[in-house]
Subunit: 177 residues, 4 copies
DNA sequence: GATGAATGAGTGTTCATTCAT
DNA sequence: GATGAATGAACACTCATTCAT
């Protein structure tokens, strides 16, 4: 249905800008449909939120398959894309923050897999610290997103820079603290 | 009053565990008091939330004054304390995340000042990258908190390690990305 | 919607009988709808109260336009209608009592205008004391309403009679007290 | 107890200015006592309100006994005092308005009696219309109070003037309407 | 399929009243 | 007697969800 897409788009923008607190009625109104229509397509608010997230996650997974140069570059490129897609996007940021893969959502699992594959390859090829796990990477991504979202607009990039430097293989790794 | 402390404690735990979404009635019940009692001590939910945060923030500011060795060590020690205090604490994490100092709350402003002083000293003494601002540090702290909160329990520390490494003066600073 | 009218009717009766203190939930229950439905049609209790009043006021203004005999008779006929409509009606009585026109409500302003026009004409035609102002008339109307509401049922009319006699041009006007 | 008088005074002013809606806690605070103290002296808010009213009513009844010239003058003088005491006094105004004597309150009954005696004498002496009852007078007083309270400050007196003219024996009485 | 009116449980807040100190 | 902290019922209002049209 065309309405489904319209609702999904509106929800994406609304949730991105204002968080999941936005009333469904507001989304319905912004999408130019009735609240009942929203529920026809998305029986529950949670379902709608999940759909919005899944949409972005699948979009990202898609991108992961379009890489293919150097494993290390691929990994960091993907990480950058993930972080940037969650920048200025409240739902995505909190979706990455809270329970990537843990929620059992199919798209979430796929993203974890895509990430895992790239990460394993990068680690094998020696471009990434070998004392961090795939799970750790999820956490670091969360952190990078949080940093980016808090940074002044003209300072953007610092969060990514630090995260990437922190994951990249270097002599100083693990020597701090 | 003894009840004020009881309510504040209960609120601290409730907000830490479940976020600020916890109904005041629930907090009242958990504290073993009536809903009216909560309002007597904290006229508004916002006031209670602010009180919980202020309590922790002032605790931190207190710690800042007890340092006094090497400026750089002091700064990173304080940063570590701040991040650790927000670990497993949803309100504190989001308080650090959203608008440190921007909210005009006295305790928030004091924390910003404490941070700023230590940061300036550390930067002057050459222990911290000189291309980052105090504002940047707030963002990086947010990120470290997010990372720590997402990390498996036995992996804790990685977020801090990366943040600290990212802020510490090093030859590679600014060379990435 | 049919429900809007049902709610307005119920509110009119409830407010008339028991005053504006009646809980919205009670009105909802009496109207056979949920509390949310009341809020859908009248976002705020003040809006509902205003709607009830506006409904009566506009009804009165309507009547004012249907007159057209002798200016003096018209004025007193209208005054009588206004007072009688507020008889046994707590909201209307207090709406007339407190701030006719001062509240900025459109219907209130219209009623003031209707009253003012009739009053001016009556005064010009010599049927009304020329030492009273339009504002005075509002106060006298308030008084007549109060009197009528306090009067035993079989004595009704005395308040109006006194008010009308007091406003009508007579030799004794202003000689008392 | 001295506190009782302090509370009563404070309540009188508070209720006069803001109506009976004023919270007891506010009155307690203004009186410089705890809320519990208010309840010790006045078990219920209704009791306090009644006490405030009784205090004024008894004050008025007192005045009634100090008259003694011409019956008609006495009656209208008393009526004037009653109306003026309720001017700018929200509780008193509504106490006069709603149920003088009907509430069974002793002071209310006494006021009714005082009024009744003066009224009967005035009527007997031929100074007051003989087609109105004592009950009617209560209603007219209500009206005069309402009018006075609505009148602009520099127009005060009109309500009383009209009420008195309306009750006084005159050739036009009963000829209107 | 779409609509949007209706639902009703839930939330923050107020305030008369009680009672331990 | 006085205090003021505590109580809890009550209220206005929100919003996810349902359902008649």
């Amino acid at each position: 249905m065309r309405n489904r897409a319209k609702i999904l788009d509106t929800a994406r923008e609304s949730f991105a800008r204002d968080g999941v607190g936005v009333p469904l009625d507001t989304i319905a109104e912004r999408a130019g449909v009735g609240p009942g229509t929203v529920h026809r397509h998305f029986p529950t608010k949670a379902v709608l939120v999940a759909a919005v997230i899944a949409d972005r996650f699948d979009h990202l997974v898609q991108r992961a398959t379009q890489l293919g140069e150097d494993p290390t570059d691929d990994f960091f490129t993907f990480l950058t894309e993930v972080v940037e897609s969650a920048r200025d996007n409240l739902v995505l940021a909190s979706a990455l923050d809270g329970g990537l893969g843990r929620d059992g959502e199919a798209s979430s699992v796929r993203l974890v897999e895509a990430f895992g594959t790239l990460f394993a390859a990068a680690q094998r090829s020696g471009g990434v610290r070998d004392d961090v796990t795939a799970e750790d990477v999820h956490a670091v991504v969360s952190g990078a997103v949080a940093t980016e979202n808090r940074l002044a607009v003209d300072r953007r990039g610092l969060g990514l820079e630090i995260a990437i430097a922190g994951l990249r293989l270097s002599k100083m790794s693990g020597s701090q603290r």
